[in-house]
Amino acid sequence: MEQETTQVQVIPADKEKIRKIVRVAVILGLVTAIEFVIAFTLGHSGFRTFLFIALTIVKAFYIVAEFMHLGHERKSLIMSILLPLMFVVFLIAILIYQGGALFELLY
């Protein structure tokens, strides 16, 4: 049942928490900036693609763990979300292989 509250107690902001949020934001901005630098300094190669994917996973980690708070949830919840993503890894492997096979067939 919802109750009518007349006086709401506003808790003052915790400076430490705000600083943590800003730190994650700065990391995300920096990683994006590094990606930009790589895009214009390194030539196209497998190593460059690997770097891009690694930096993307770094960003994804900070967004999911800190912004979405998953890093501070119960382990059972973390695993319920992360383990099913194994199917994505499987799909990447199988479809990239399929792409190569199509190329062989067409060209």
């Binding site: 949020i21 949830e73 479809l95």
Partner: protein
Amino acid sequence: MSNTLAVEQSTQSPWRGGVAPMKASYGKLMMWFFLLSDAFTFSALLITYGMIRYSHPAYEGVIADFTFSQEYWPIPEKVFDAVPFLHGVHLPLVFVGIMTFILILSSVTMVLAVEAGHRMDRKAVEKWMLWTIVGGLTFLGCQAWEWTHFINGTGGGGASLTWNEYGPSNFAALFFFITGFHGFHVFSGVVINFIIFYQTVVGILEKRGHYEMVEKVGLYWHFVDLVWVFVFTFFYLV
């Protein structure tokens, strides 16, 4: 207090309700599972991009001599090199970089809204939700400009679902599909954010005693940002 709680827990079966095994409310849990299914959809789209790209020849020559051709897959930085108000200037990936920063910033304001909600600070929730909505609308505006530029082209005929001046027909089709599906998520995110902003302003959430709805839409909004991080890498950088 803690003793009675322990006794209650030991006699009550976990299947009889009233306990949250994952220490997350039903609504938050369901949002997580929805986002997991949405992650599968976006993965399928992006991996399809990878498959189709690998089934086309890649450009082999020097990057500086690159010209658009139907014979090979285009290099993204040669396609996306325009910025509004700077017509004819070659600024590869600058505009899409700005869009990325806008979305990351709106994600930060969303975290601040959630944080303010934990403190029952209605004024701060209103302020940060509004900034998040502004960020989302700015991103949508940028995307509208980018699509217009992509469709009209630079004098080579532009792009449609069946043909485009940049490369094989699948290139533009995948561009429309992937950025369009993401843009639709941003659009629905802005609408949902606005509903929660409205509920905050009229005091519905304060009366309820908690701002969990802000947390739930926050999860969705961060997910939209997360997807863009991947789209940015696999469509524009690689």
